[in-house]
Symmetry: C2
Subunit: 136 residues, 2 copies
Amino acid sequence: MMACDLCDNVGGELLWNSTLCRIVLVNDPDYPGFCRVVLNRHIEEMTDLEAGERSLMMRVILATETAVREVMQPDKINLASLGNMTPHVHWHVIPRFRDDKHFPNAIWGEAQREGMQRTVDVAQLRGALEKALAQF
Amino acid sequence: MMACDLCDNVGGELLWNSTLCRIVLVNDPDYPGFCRVVLNRHIEEMTDLEAGERSLMMRVILATETAVREVMQPDKINLASLGNMTPHVHWHVIPRFRDDKHFPNAIWGEAQREGMQRTVDVAQLRGALEKALAQF
């Protein structure tokens, strides 16, 4: 098996962890509040997971969406599981703003402008995640 | 309220429909087998849905992934809910191949090559969807 970046590394600032998956804050200055939900074992596709695990993972992803919306108040949330470069199940939860670097393009598309700089209050995000995860 | 493309149009070739959502085949010659799961009412974010609806919608999306994997045998599946241009909940379920137009980039990123041309057997896809949806 080839080395896998998400097997070998946490992939960001660890915000929450469980047996199944972890939530990390991505260090992307253009997208503060951008979180990833990363499966804690090496599986390529969501449909390779057992049904109960899929359901639990999706609940964690949508709890993350809830917390990111609360803290960042974005114009839109983008959710994506791509994994073309790192085929290890992980989900992007990205707060988007009309004045961010790529809007309305995907963040993987062509940049539209320099992008308004924002910051994230990590303590507030941790609190919002704890609250959202307790309700899912 | 502004006109919404996914309120006004089916958005592709209708493969399956329910009260909550529909599955359509996207007409993209570079991505045969590319399906979208579209909510049948105008809501912007997954977390604006009730918990039971979120769960049902995710089961439909993953049934679609199962069927697309079976029929297209892709190297990777990409799942995404963006909605920056059309803020009406819809999910992209995209079969990806190492020799497709953008791989390993997202399909919204820079093209890498002309891309191997493939076709989809729509009757086979309908059958695979029916089977997958019956099991989810």
